[in-house]
Symmetry: C3
Subunit: 633 residues, 3 copies
């Protein structure tokens, strides 16, 4: 597969005289793609119902004539003021009951039917205008769903929609009351319109209530997206894409991804390290200018699954951003490393964000490939280098990983609703497992929870799955590799209750979680052989063989040759030991990698990425900080 | 006095076929009491005015026939949805002005007269049905007043009620303006209906305004409780009880307790250690699975006073709970230790919460005596052991303690309103004093602030009393033991002003607090002999003898042989020294206890409780971790 | 110039029989000034339109007859209840949309025209009554603008006013949309009444939108103040004063100061150390009872500039206050030291707050010169000592400092709006620069950003100026000393955008900031010679000479002989080195001062202040803790 580079561009921000100059320089840099349009509704439709396409026609023409391919974005993340004025109840409402107003972006409620109509209208108009334009080679729908915590809204529209959704799901309040266990605190409802959104209750609402609201809210994102998919499909043959964000778990990306052709995401390694990745101060210092060495890989693998194998990076950090608590500059070379890492994980395209740093408005401190004065910023040269390297590189075909990790959004909502320990978080748990696999040098595939075939993998991890789907249970029943299930897996019904008999219900594996403990950061469970669990520990019972025990003699891993249950959350060193043992048992070769070095295999090539702040030596090769090295497999 | 065990049970959560099985197993475990009913309003009165008692009749009959005694709970902590719909203004409002909605529990405003009527109605109906039922041997009114911060509400009902209460108290706004000092910032009122609740002011409201609102709010809890007392009294001869919570100081428990027959409380040692007891990381680690070694004792002694000598533990933690930040499992033996400790402190009954872990709704992760699948949870065997031990134990009569601590809820509101130092807290101060007494091996009685007789005690501590009541002052005037008053005692008028002459006004003791200092955690006041004050230091003046000085020569303790004033907040080691000296002077024998070991004397028996994580040796006896040891006195 | 002492007094708090006694004791203490009246609106005008001046007439007469001069305060910080009831929309609204109610003080919205009218009316009435009273020798308007975060209000009045202000400024929404860059996220407005206040947006609002709201809000403070200035000017010939607070940057004090005759401020050294000055735990411990050794000096110098050379301390902390997180007592001697330091920095008068500690209402725990029982508090004797020392001291004439610091309020709003690094704060940066100058023993003048003449100074620092004004740029072009500009200076247009060409635009100095980095606390940029930048680092480009480099070879200071640009935020030791080098180059003598010792020169006298907790030796003099030493220059 060929790999391509691109960039995000806002012709409306610059004098028209600049467009051709910019386009030529993009081309000269070796870029293929240019994404435009996604915030420009107020220019496309300056007054209600009156479209102005002329400027956009000329922009597409200019870019296309320069040899670039356009990704056209629908502008529905930024409804114009006049649209909000026409239906003020389209604004979202936060959990404290405050309306979230106009003046930035994403000021809409996914549940609002009037706004969905408006989106259908603008998407249709754009599709009619550009769906067959030869320069427009892909579409992006909306921008960064959930960014700024916008999936959940506590508006009137959401309440009405939720009540309807519940009525559809349960058909009777009796059924709902039973499913939720509303008898618990006299919480029964007689009619669906009595059911409020689960915010502002005196103490925590019923977790089943919350989980259904989370499901409802996720469904609205998918439904909102589908409106535009349905509008555009008849009007274009090019791929439809959305650009997801990092560590965003509020909606089921697999469901949104099912309606699209490619999954893309916006990769801001340094911003994410600063604002959303757990780590010790030491780790944060070490990777300050590189980003977490596994975070990009995790999201590449996750979104490749969301995209059913097709992955882009739609926005790639090129320099300091404006939005993290602290915004240092990347090490020289990182803008290249990140791009190559994306390609190694299967990305077809990597688009830098953005072409030229905008000197005004919210993101004026966000670097681009060019400075505000049009001089080259540091990343421009790195982008050009990548472009040249791509041209010299044979095609990179994706290879199935040696291990798989099952990741479930619904479980993230379940544990967010009922963490039981203050620091229990689904992403954190899954990422801990992923990191251990990656530190062992494995290439990993991430699988959705409804996966029905594990046969391609010798090792499968399934941490934190609230339930195991029927598909997955069937696959596990005949699985010939080693699957490590847990902790906190298969311990709930889909109604967010504890099943009786109690879980997990693993095929042919007699193990039951009889009691659960969460642990404060100061505490740990010591294991035989020196490891330790942190955060979480489950007491196991059953007749299955014990593979690992705590120092006090309680089972830590139980199960048979193929299915094993992990009773706690291992710290990093312990996870390394466990994964090492499983790989040995499963016949997977592991690598002893120096700190900061990471590996990813394609079908033909092994890539090495040095995330560390110092050079490392791999066999005979010295890989500098921020260095990329590849060798044939 | 005989001691008994019990359990909390929710027949409405389980198939009716299970009831008799459960009852038989309760009986076989050695339980005497079963509490039911307190959240089941929606089943008792499924639609307005239509009662359904059949299921509850059968439940009582089944339990009673098994030989159990029923504690019947009124369900007023969980008004059903239809009731809220009939008067939506019954919902409480938080300090930010947000209505706290339906969907969990305690969604009512203590000030709402319509809701009080509804509570009178359901309590009366229950009393008529079960007041003379031979199986119903006690009543619980409502559940955990103030839980989830529900004492204070900023609703329209509260505002109206507060204005009326002020008009009753002051009779004229002139009197109120004078009492509050409203001249200070032109805050005078001309009419009572101008007076708003003291939230959402620009900066802090007048502390006298806040303190009166706190008094008003406390009075509403007592008045709310009295409605049900008055409804039930004519209908039953069995004791009326409320189950208080831990470290709950928002209402005057002595006033509520005066209307009831027994004070009970809900003892969650591990949950409370995690979420509401100050401690170093080391202490939190040491007692992670045991709870704070003095917290249960403090509350037993406090609520024994609230109950005028009659104490129960209505809910006893049996395993991990669901609601604390972290929820580890108790050490094996703790469910036994906690019960015996309660008995040693005078509890007549200890009821475990709950019989079987509910697999649904908010508390599904809260352990019971049985697992959700009806298998025994770890605490079941410990409960059975306690039951067997009770049977073998002679009666335990209460003995008056050797020292007393005076505890005043109103002072807690005063210092909460005007902490002066960010970490000044009434519970924390009183608990520090209590802990020092207990580390010295003393059995302590807690006394209300209106106490008029101290003659039973050789030593009395009175920390943090905003005023000394007339009763207490009279008792102090003739006291022949040693009373240590302060710090921060008798320094306010009841109008929350500084008295002139300035306090304290101790009989025949010339000592005045001339200046007050609060200290950040990094600072301390060094004392002669190596001790130190933390948090708080008062400059003393007067002619009374100085018993202890600071290193710089300021008085730290002043007074005569019987009444002394303590000028600061001693750290633990310093408090140990001070208490040791006072005990020597007062002729009280103290004990040198190993870390984690605690003692409590009944009339005939000395009990030892090992809260530490390791065995300790007491004389010749090795007491294991979580071990209980007793010997005749 | 003669120096005088005074005190704040509230005759309305005390029996009238006490007034003459108090006045005589004030006089005997050596006080000259007594400030009264500023919270007494409800007594001056007990019912709408009915004034009662009798009590105030007698109070002025009593004080004046004792030989005191009265500062008369207008009571507009505490509108009475009846006034609020007559126009409830005069109440301010916080950023969360909650109305901030009656019950404390400062409960008014600067934008409310009805309230401005009410203030004009009461000020006029007071002026007519007391403007020519021979005992009234100065006026204070309102009290502590912005205290309790009251500059910014999100009310309807503010919204209307802001829209009008924008319409005046921009004349057309097209111009506003261009200036703000509203094209960025389709944020264009068609009419001014579409523009909401910049709170409660989904994510951050346009920084240009916020900055204009900050400017508008600042302008309203000035306009509000001007209403009373205009009312009083015709009615009195005495100076008009406002008492500013510490570290208050929400309005442009230079603009308010331009309408007044004297700038005064309220100096609470220990309270401010506790609640608003950054510092290590060690620093906070060292100066716990003294206050930060540079904070008072900084504000004296700043407000002397705001007062165009005329400075008072209107409220001087005398003992523990009531409002900081922790409230220890000052070291003996500090109430004297603070007064002398104010005089050394040019203060004409220092008034202690307050005469007698009020035993009631919000500030009852705030010490005075007298205790609540009228006994002397520790500061009374120190005040008398200062009065005696003044009498023995020759006049102290102000001397121009050897270095100047330029301070700009608008930049504070800019960086508050767009910190880019979580701990970037204008005060903190300017204070860091100021502290370095002061540690070098320099006397500093603070200059407003529109300064057009720097010729009096050999050294000028200009950190954090969003833009350099035309005046200042002209002054820099011919400057013959050394000016150190930056970091983060001259990098914005006045529309809060990045200029192209990019800044800074220093005369004859080719240096450009090409890229900006913010750094987390754990990170630093190492410099040649051992220094380091923290928080902030800018990449410089250009042909100007490099004076200092980072260890990795990037420029850290660039420029010519006279104008240099500083690329980062030096830590304290690094700042000391930089300032030392600049002083050497500029021919300024520096001092090697022991820890805690500070210096300030008047025209004839050098003052030393020992802020440290221990005695220090200066040449042959031992200066005790809290000691003041002076010697002729």
């Amino acid at each position: 597969m060929t790999r391509t580079l691109g960039v995000c561009y806002y012709p409306e921000h610059w004098p028209e005289s600049q467009w051709a100059v910019d386009a030529a320089q993009m081309k000269a840099t070796g870029l293929t793609w240019v994404r435009i349009g996604e915030f420009a509704w107020s220019l496309m439709e300056p007054t209600p119902g009156t479209y102005d396409w002329d400027w956009l026609d000329r922009a597409v023409e200019t870019l296309g004539n320069a040899g670039l391919k356009v990704v056209m974005g629908t502008p529905t993340a930024t409804p114009p003021r006049w649209l909000v004025d026409s239906m003020p109840d389209m604004l979202p409402v936060d959990a404290q009951g405050r309306t979230r107003g106009f003046g930035s972006r994403r000021h809409y409620d996914f549940s609002h039917m009037g706004y969905r109509d408006a989106c259908r209208r603008i998407a249709t108009a754009m599709g009619e205008r550009y769906g067959r334009n030869p320069h427009v080679a892909a579409w992006q729908i909306d921008n960064e769903y959930d960014c700024h915590d916008t999936t959940l809204s506590y508006s009137g529209a959401a309440k009405q929609g939720f009540q309807d959704w519940l009525a559809q799901k349960y058909q009777s309040t009796d059924a709902l009351n039973r499913a939720w266990g509303n008898i618990f605190w006299s919480m029964q409802y007689d009619t669906f319109d009595q059911i409020e959104l689960p915010n502002l209750t005196v103490t925590e609402p019923n977790p089943a209530h919350v989980l259904d609201f989370r499901r409802y809210s996720s469904d609205q994102v998918a439904a909102f997206n589908r409106v535009q998919v349905d509008a555009l499909r008849p009007l274009t043959d090019t791929p439809l894409i959305h650009n997801y964000m990092g560590r965003t778990l509020t909606f089921d990306h697999f469901k949104v991804g099912a309606d699209l052709d490619i999954a893309s995401w916006d990769s801001y390694p340094i911003g994410f390290l600063s604002d959303r990745i757990e780590g010790t101060t030491k780790e944060k210092q070490t990777y300050l200018r590189q980003g977490h060495p596994d975070n990009q890989a995790f999201h590449h693998d996750l979104y490749r699954a969301v995209g059913n194998g097709r992955l882009w990076v739609m926005e790639q950090q090129p320099g300091p951003v404006n939005w993290a608590p602290y915004n240092p500059a990347p090490l020289p070379g990182m803008a290249r490393l990140w791009a190559w890492e994306a390609f190694a994980h299967g990305a077809e395209a990597v688009c830098y964000f953005r072409w030229r740093q905008a000197p005004f408005a919210q993101e004026q401190m966000h670097a681009g490939l060019l400075r505000p004065d049009s001089e080259p910023a540091p990343a421009l040269g790195e982008a050009a280098q990548v472009a040249a390297e791509i041209a010299a590189m044979p095609d990179l075909d994706h290879a199935t990983g040696s291990a798989a990790l099952i990741f479930d959004y619904e479980s993230a909502w379940a544990w967010d609703t009922q963490p039981q320990g203050a620091d229990f978080d689904m992403f954190r748990l899954a990422f801990a497992a992923y990191r251990a696999l990656r530190r062992a040098g494995l290439s990993v595939d991430i699988l959705p929870p409804h996966t029905g075939d594990l046969s391609a993998y010798k090792l499968v991890l399934a941490p934190g799955l609230m339930t195991i789907s029927d598909n997955l249970r069937a696959a596990l029943a005949t699985y010939e590799g080693i699957a490590l299930i847990g902790p906190r897996s298969d311990l709930k019904t889909r109604d967010m209750a504890i099943p009786v008999p109690m879980g997990p219900s693993l095929p042919d594996t007699d193990v039951t979680v009889t009691l659960t403990e969460s642990l404060p950061p100061s505490d740990k469970i010591k294991l035989q052989g020196g490891g330790r669990f942190r955060h979480w520990f489950e007491h196991l019972d059953g007749t299955a063989p014990v593979h690992l025990s705590t120092k006090s003699g309680q089972p830590a891993i139980m199960g048979g040759d193929h299915l094993r249950y992990l009773a706690g959350w291992p710290d990093d060193a312990t996870f390394d030991g466990i994964i090492g043992g499983l790989c040995d048992a499963a016949g997977i070769a592991t690598l002893r990698l120096p700190d900061g070095l990471r590996v990813r295999d394609t079908a033909t090539t092994r890539f090495f990425f040095n995330y560390g702040p110092k050079p490392v030596t791999w066999k005979d090769t010295i890989i500098p900080a921020a260095g990329v090295h590849w060798e044939a497999l």
